[in-house]
Symmetry: C2
């Protein structure tokens, strides 16, 4: 049903513009470049836009249109939606802001639009959104230019967001980190399609392995939301960043997307009870989706930690305990096998501290001789020490062959960033602190347990 939003054969942009910097310019530019379907521009003025004279209105276009993108001032929007309904357009994205989020007058405009589409086959995303991005089809209604906001490559993470700004920041960050997405939707005021509709659609979407959600409050009914969450979270991990939790936050939220944000506790309880995963801020959201997107789920909570920096091992062990992970010691037979192959002052507990003068091969020795006793591993590499060279990259990537989840921790300056990007680009997530790596592992364990029972 929502397919035309993500795979339209033809698109019309109402409010397309030839003025660089304008919202309607960026969207027109997006569709002029890499999109393969038919594109129509609509503007009341007949000045050419990317070489084409625009149509003066939707109704003047004779071809059928799968997706209409509206970016004109709010007061003109109800009229355009009516034209779309008359033309039997199945999908509309209303980018324009200035509706219920600014007060009663905007609310009236929304009600008018809702009435217009009621009982028809026309569905709406928005208003007050950045819209839709699908890297497979190059459908890109995001009005933030590409030199400001990178677009992520194709991948298996779907991301839906009530707020356009939060969404675009996360999208930009994902692109920068080289993490791919399947689909992105900013759903804003959600006068028609809401988070529950999208969760249901993405639950069945074959390109999507993990779903990330930024919300300030639910737009569907509580019952619908809980039913959907309960059903979809059994298929795929859904990670929520819910803001508008506290009193001040709720006030800010109500002026932002016109949503009445609910009590933090109620949401946390609902997420927890019906299989959702909650992130504390969007840095944590990205930490978690990286792990779920790139790695298999652990089958239990036995975690192996290997480090070349003792202090980092301590920080990791602290977090493992908070996450209820089991740092069971290396078996005696493992210790017998490896102790002469690593540094004499290495610590063969768990965390295994190889010490600062170890080299890459020692990670290999410890991992291969012990991973069969564990459900996954965290590999901590301090690239500041001279004995650890780039051969660690292949060794870490080879750990994927174990079939168990492996997360890395590496932090520091330029050299560290370079190596980390290579490793993460090839499918092993890298975190800048031990706490963040271990907490992501712990979250995978909790999801696996919930899914199972």
């Amino acid at each position: 049903m929502f397919n035309k939003f993500f795979n339209p054969k033809s698109v019309a942009i109402v409010g397309a513009s030839n003025k660089p910097g304008k919202v309607g310019y960026v969207i027109a530019e997006n569709f002029s470049k890499d999109y393969n379907g038919n594109v129509f521009f609509v503007n009341s003025k007949p000045n050419p836009i990317f070489g084409k004279i625009p149509y003066s209105s939707i109704s003047k276009i004779k071809d059928s249109i799968d997706l209409v993108i509206i970016s004109v001032p709010a007061k003109f929007v109800p009229q355009i939606v009516e034209e779309c309904v008359n033309k039997k357009v199945p999908s509309i994205v209303i980018i324009t802001a200035g509706f219920s989020e600014i007060g009663l007058e905007g609310k009236k405009l929304e009600d008018k639009i809702k009435k217009t589409i009621s009982g028809t086959n026309t569905r709406i995303i928005g208003p007050n959104v950045v819209g839709v991005y699908n890297p497979s089809t190059n459908v890109d209604t995001v009005f933030l230019p590409k030199d400001r906001m990178n677009r992520p490559k194709k991948g298996n993470i779907a991301f839906i967001s009530q707020s356009g700004a939060v969404a675009s920041t996360i999208i930009d960050w994902l692109a920068e980190e080289g993490i791919g997405i399947s689909k992105f939707v900013s759903y804003g005021n959600a006068i028609d399609i809401n988070e529950s509709d999208l969760l249901e659609y993405l639950g069945n979407d074959k390109e999507t392995k993990v779903i990330a959600v930024y919300m300030e409050g639910i737009k569907s009914s509580g019952k619908k939301f809980i039913e959907t969450l309960n059903k979809v979270s059994k298929k795929k991990p859904i990670i929520f960043l819910k803001s508008g939790k506290t009193k001040s936050g709720s006030i800010a939220a109500s002026s932002h997307t016109g949503s009445l944000a609910g009590s933090s506790k109620i949401y946390s309880t609902v997420f927890n009870q019906f299989g959702g995963i909650e992130a504390l801020d969007w840095e944590e959201l990205i930490d978690f989706i990286k792990a779920f997107s790139l790695q298999p789920l652990p089958k239990g909570n036995n975690l192996l930690i290997i480090t070349n920096g003792g202090g980092f091992g301590v920080l990791a062990a602290d977090e493992a305990e908070r996450q209820n992970l089991n740092l069971k010691p290396l078996s005696k037979s493992t210790i017998m096998k490896i102790k002469n192959k690593i540094r004499p002052n290495a610590s063969l507990r768990n965390p295994v501290d190889l010490t600062a003068d170890s080299d890459a091969s020692m990670y290999n020795i410890v991992f291969n001789n012990s991973i069969s006793n564990y459900d996954g591993a965290i590999i901590i590499t301090l690239f500041q020490v001279p004995t650890l060279d780039e051969s660690i990259i292949k060794i870490i990537l080879d750990m994927k062959k174990s079939g168990k989840p492996v997360l890395c921790c590496a932090s520091g300056g330029k050299f560290t960033s370079k190596i980390s990007k290579i490793i993460e680009g090839k499918g092993i997530p890298v975190y800048p602190t031990p706490r963040r790596a271990v907490s992501s592992f712990g979250t995978m364990v909790r999801y696996m347990k919930k899914k199972k029972y």
Copy 2:
């Protein structure tokens, strides 16, 4: 008393090496390059090191030596310390690992060394450390090469660390972020100079405005530590990252620097009661020291938040409530003055949401007309939107003239990073999430209140 560690006129490196990659090579290289005092190399083999034939022992050097750096296997160290005492060397850094952290035999070596210096004027940092770095004098015993670990520029943050690895990672990160330090010490097993000694010294150090501490457990007596903390924290903020908190963490810590890590709760209570500030991980540690290092302290908890992304405002407001900050609304007279100068759909509550189509000048208008009613501001800028151009840099930097603390939040990809680095390089800290910016502000407020009463 500790001055010779940071400003020595002459240095001897025992275990200096001509083999690239070796610890003794990196240290010899560090002192061969930018250090202005006399440098002596000591090695039992007469092969030239950076063009100089090494001395066969400390006692063969006729000149007086302010600082001896020892990097030879543990079993040789007691003998060398004895030679240093005979030569009346005031300061020794023992880099070598393999002492009490590996067990009884190492502990015996430590006891021997302690006995040797007892009653003398020779003081020791270490063993099991990366040592000392002072950007003012280019004293740099850090054995991690500069292409792996950047050195930060001169600044006002002192950083002491029990763990060398955690320290070097943080140092690398600070350099990468362009944050300057006054002095760095890794104190490891602390058989002589411990964290309390260093806190006392840094409390009186004119180059130091903020002190950061990574510790796994205290090495001085509890009484001494509390007295020192209580005294020094009244002069300067001291931010602790304490690991080895939980059971697993404590086991890891005892095998790392030979420290018996205490209960988390006891430490947190002590920090809190005697003026210390605790960070949850070293990312938070850096967040806090950036704020204290670059900005003045707020005089109260009234915070102004300005954003061009509504969702970010909501996330910031949530955190402000958790931090007990007061987001009092804009005054009526302020609203009257500015409402016609910003976008009609902007939200003039606090957070002030300028909306995505605002430009840089609108930040200026809101800030200048309202900051007199607040104790500080958080400026959230989403550079993904096309209307916000680089003129925001000057506007944000000009906010320093208010004399009030200003922290920024900006996150995203390349463009955002570029602008953020410029702003932070000129003295306004930039955080990647609203939560982290607001939590840093809240920490400054709490410190200010503790200091006052």
